[in-house]
């Protein structure tokens, strides 16, 4: 399957990394961008983070009693 780099990558802020989208995007279908493996956390970091992939690391900030839901 041929893939191309998403066009917005060139204008993206430095912390964004190029993502791949399928060439043929069709209506009424959902797509999640692919990311090719480049860098990895160390094993110790990975176990703490919950993933080996730094760009999939999305820790939750509003922990603790009194943390607020972003929806309300």
């Amino acid at each position: 399957m041929v893939r191309r780099v998403a066009g917005e990558a060139a204008m993206a802020p430095p912390e964004c990394v190029p993502k791949l989208l399928p060439c043929h995007i069709r209506l009424a279908e959902a797509y999640v961008p692919y990311k090719v493996y480049t860098v990895a956390f160390s094993p110790a970091e990975a176990l703490c983070a919950g993933t080996v992939f730094p760009d999939l690391y999305r820790p939750y900030a509003a922990c603790g009693e009194g943390g607020v839901s972003p929806w309300r």
Partner: protein
């Protein structure tokens, strides 16, 4: 065939016993969006998946969810460890205690037993993978809700891990969805 490894996927710690938090955490053991639901959903959907990628991914994520089920059970077990009858009564959990002491069980925090009605295996791979992606988002949301209910830094560390796994699983299911959508599209070309 399943084989068990006599170790947890991660070290699980709690700072102090907390009966009420144990009762809340049970939702990720036997509740609608918990690890049992996830494991059973993926391990039963895999039989009717058409590609090696989706069969492999559902087998592997389903197996990892069983390991997460064990983590939740360990958290509950440690949160209840050493709790006195007075603490159990004070947390409003004496009715639960009357039924099954401190045993871990497949139910929601309000006592509804786990049911296969929480999951689905339609046999339509596209529908099934969308269900899986939704399940990962629901589990992520529940972990966030649970993290807002405690100040125990050790427990939060474990819940952060479990929440992050939902984020990663969602990404992988999304990639598998693309594989399935291309598979279906290719089958239309005669």
């Amino acid at each position: 065939m399943w084989v068990y490894e006599k170790k947890l996927e991660i070290p699980v710690r709690v700072s102090i016993p907390d009966v009420r938090m144990a009762a809340r955490l049970i939702t990720q053991y036997g509740g609608p969006d918990g690890e049992l639901s996830a494991a059973m959903r993926y391990l039963t959907q895999r039989y009717t998946m058409p590609t090696g990628m989706t069969r492999g991914l559902l087998t592997d994520i389903g197996t990892e969810e069983l390991a997460h089920l064990e983590i939740i059970a360990t958290m509950v077990y440690k949160l209840l460890d050493g709790a006195t009858i007075e603490q159990i009564k004070a947390a409003g959990l004496d009715l639960q205690y009357a039924v099954r002491d401190k045993a871990v069980f497949f139910q929601s925090p309000t006592g509804e037993p786990w049911t296969a009605a929480y999951i689905q295996s339609l046999g339509d791979p596209i529908a099934d993978v969308h269900e899986d992606m939704a399940a990962e988002q629901k589990a992520r949301a529940v972990y966030e809700q649970l993290m807002r209910l405690t100040d125990d830094a050790d427990l939060i560390q474990g819940l952060q891990f479990l929440r992050e796994r939902e984020v990663v699983h969602f990404q992988r299911f999304g990639e598998a969805l693309d594989n399935l959508q291309e598979f279906v599209e290719r089958k239309k070309v005669y």
